[in-house]
Every structure is written in C-alpha cells, then in structure tokens.
C-alpha cells in the first residue's frame, strides 16, 4: 500500500556535486592592477618595473637611469625589499622621489602594495615611475603591478642559461636587459648563447645591453624608454608636450 511513496522518497545520502566556478585565483590582484594601469594612463605616467635575481644590478641601473632622466623628465621610484631601506637610500641620491616598500618576508610585490605606496600621490605630474621588485626570478612573474613595461635583468656574471632556468619570468617580461657589460670579458660571457636562450623562451624579445658603471648602452636604453613613453600605443591617452631630446 505504501510501496509507491517509499520508492519516490528521496534517499537521504549526501552526494557531492561538481559545480563550475571558473575564477582566476589572482583576480583580486588583477582588479587592483587594472585600476592602477588606468590611473597611470590618465595621469600620463609611463610605468616600468624591474625584476631579476638578487645582485643583478637593478638598483645600480635604476639609480643611473633616474640621474640621467631627471634633467628632462619628472621621475619617481618605488623599491621593494624584504628588510632594509638601503636601496631606497641609494636611489634617493639621484634626488628623485623614492619610496621604499618593505615586504617583510614576502618575496614579491603585489598590486595592492603599489596602490598603498602611492596613496595620496598625484601621479599626474610624473613622466616615469619605476618599480623595483624584490630580487627574485620566480614569484614576481605571477603578479601584474599595473606597469606598462616589465624588464627582466640578467648580469653577465650569472650565466647565459638563466633564461632556460627561469622561463616563466622571461615569458612575463617585455624586454631583457643584460647588465654589467663592463665585466663581460672577465666573466667570459657568451653573448650569442645568452641571446639564443632568451629567444628560445621568449621569441622576438628585445634585448638591451648596458653597463651603468661605464655608461655603455645607457644612451640606447634611455632613447628606448623615451620612445615608448611617447608612442601612442604606450600612452593611449597621453597628454603633455614632447620631452626634450635625450642625448646622454
């Protein structure tokens, strides 16, 4: 008599169900980075970030770049470091506004840290903002910081196979800069092999060679920066007159 209702009664067992979500794990970072990029675009500031392993010469290249750009452009820098403020002090010698982001034990910068660091800043008057990431060739690759251009640096003393060992960071970067070129001969640096390895993991990647010590390649590097900043693609909503010719 009651058999019918027994059969139709739902079975009281919990059955796991697969539901589709499709969410980017770093969506929060990406949202902040997008907002930053828009803010930089509106302010007409060109943002360059630098990544490399510790000791590749990010701070030295940046210090020299700030000094050489300062007569012609309004420049500022943010510098990420685990513990010390030494890099910010070094960069401050260039007389450009510099702010340290101390990450504690965090091995990379995230978009929210950039947002915090520039809180209250009017980025509008700036032409260039440089962001020096924590020395690390692994973790920074995952985080968009809202920059227009990401540089990956390798120094001639590090070995030509760095790109093959860290393909992900090279893949996330736009331009490779080979630093400490003044030591190339002493370090028996094989330029052809380095180029080949960079092109293997990032075909078509632009490679610049510099020595911040002897100024080798610095002129080309500065002209490259200036051309990017002034190109319509880099600054879709760019305003302000063209800068004076870079000649250093």
């Amino acid at each position: 008599m009651s058999s019918e209702s027994d059969v139709s009664r739902p079975v009281a067992v919990l059955v796991p169900r697969l539901v589709e979500v499709r969410q980017n794990v770093l969506k929060h970072n990406d949202v902040v980075a997008r907002a930053l990029r828009e803010r930089f675009r509106q302010g007409g500031v060109f943002v360059v970030s630098l990544v490399s392993s510790p000791g590749s010469g990010k701070t030295t290249l940046l210090e020299k770049t700030l000094i050489l750009l300062r007569p012609r452009y309004r420049v500022a820098a943010l510098v990420g470091d685990l513990a010390t403020e030494n890099d910010a002090l070094r960069l401050a010698r260039s007389q450009a506004p510099v702010k340290q982001i101390t990450t504690g034990t965090l091995c990379h910068l995230e978009a929210a840290m950039i947002e915090n660091a520039i809180q209250g800043w009017d980025v509008g008057p700036l032409d260039f903002l440089f962001i020096e990431n924590v020395g690390n060739l692994v973790c920074p690759s995952s985080y968009d910081l809202g920059e227009n251009l990401r540089l990956v640096l390798i120094s001639v003393t590090e070995g030509e196979d760095k790109p093959l060992k860290y393909p992900t960071i090279f893949n996330s970067a736009d331009v490779a800069v080979i630093t400490k070129m003044d030591l190339a001969t002493a370090a028996e640096f094989d330029s052809t092999a380095a180029d080949r390895n960079i092109q293997a993991v990032r075909p078509g990647m632009r490679i610049l060679r510099v020595s911040a010590k002897t100024n080798e390649g610095m002129s080309e590097w500065l002209q490259f920066l200036a051309s990017l900043r002034d190109s319509p693609q880099a600054r879709p909503g760019g305003s302000g007159g063209p800068p004076r010719e870079a000649d250093s």
């Binding site: 796991p16 995952s142 293997a200």
Partner: protein, 115 residues
C-alpha cells in the same frame, strides 16, 4: 615561495563561492594550473592544507589539473602543443612563436560540494 599566499587566495575564493550557494560544504577544489603561472604544484598542495586548516574549508582536497602550454603558430596558422617550456617553437615547422594560448592558467574551475 609564494604558494602559501596563492593557497590562501584559493581557500578564500572557494569560501566565497560556498557562501554564495548558501553555505554548502566543499569537499574538493579543482584547479587548473599552467606551467607559466609561476606556481610550483607540490608546494601549492602542501600549502593548501595549511591555508585551509581551521577554516570552513578544513579537510577539503585540492585537485590540480595540469594545463599544457599551447601556442599559436603563425606559419601553420594553428594551435600547437609545446613540448618544452624552454623552447617556444612550433613542434611541426620549428617557427619561433611567443603567442601563448594556454599555459598561464591559475584558475579555480570547479568545486565539489555537498548539498
């Protein structure tokens, strides 16, 4: 080593989704991970247990699906599976290509829930 902060983001994301569905219990999180995401699978699995401990996600599993690198070859005008992360060339015609179609994924694509 940023896998712990990635794991915390995964736990947070799954918790939000579970909450949105009326506070359902999550048995497992399915993640798609590409070699170009910059995340080490083993380290992430280890971190997940730590990140979920003491939360509503405690005891849930993280199931990682590896996504291969797929590039677009301009010569063949086709998508090709890359065999090595150290060589961005078409496996068929050897044309260098940096056009990555897949391989950067770091995405929660499904949850196993109890209702």
């Amino acid at each position: 080593m940023h896998e712990l902060s990635i794991a915390l983001s995964i736990v947070e994301l799954a918790q939000e989704e579970a909450e949105r569905r009326g506070g359902v219990r999550v048995d497992a999180v399915h993640l798609r991970l590409g070699p170009l995401a910059g995340v080490v699978k083993e380290a992430l699995l280890g971190s997940y247990e730590m990140a979920s401990a003491g939360t509503t996600m405690a005891g849930s599993r993280l199931i990682i699906e590896d996504v291969p690198i797929v590039v677009y070859c301009p010569q063949c005008q086709a998508q090709r599976l890359l065999s090595s992360v150290q060589r961005f060339c078409c496996p068929e015609c050897d044309t260098p290509t940096g056009e990555v179609v897949h391989g950067k994924e770091l995405e929660v694509f499904a949850l196993e829930i109890e209702e």
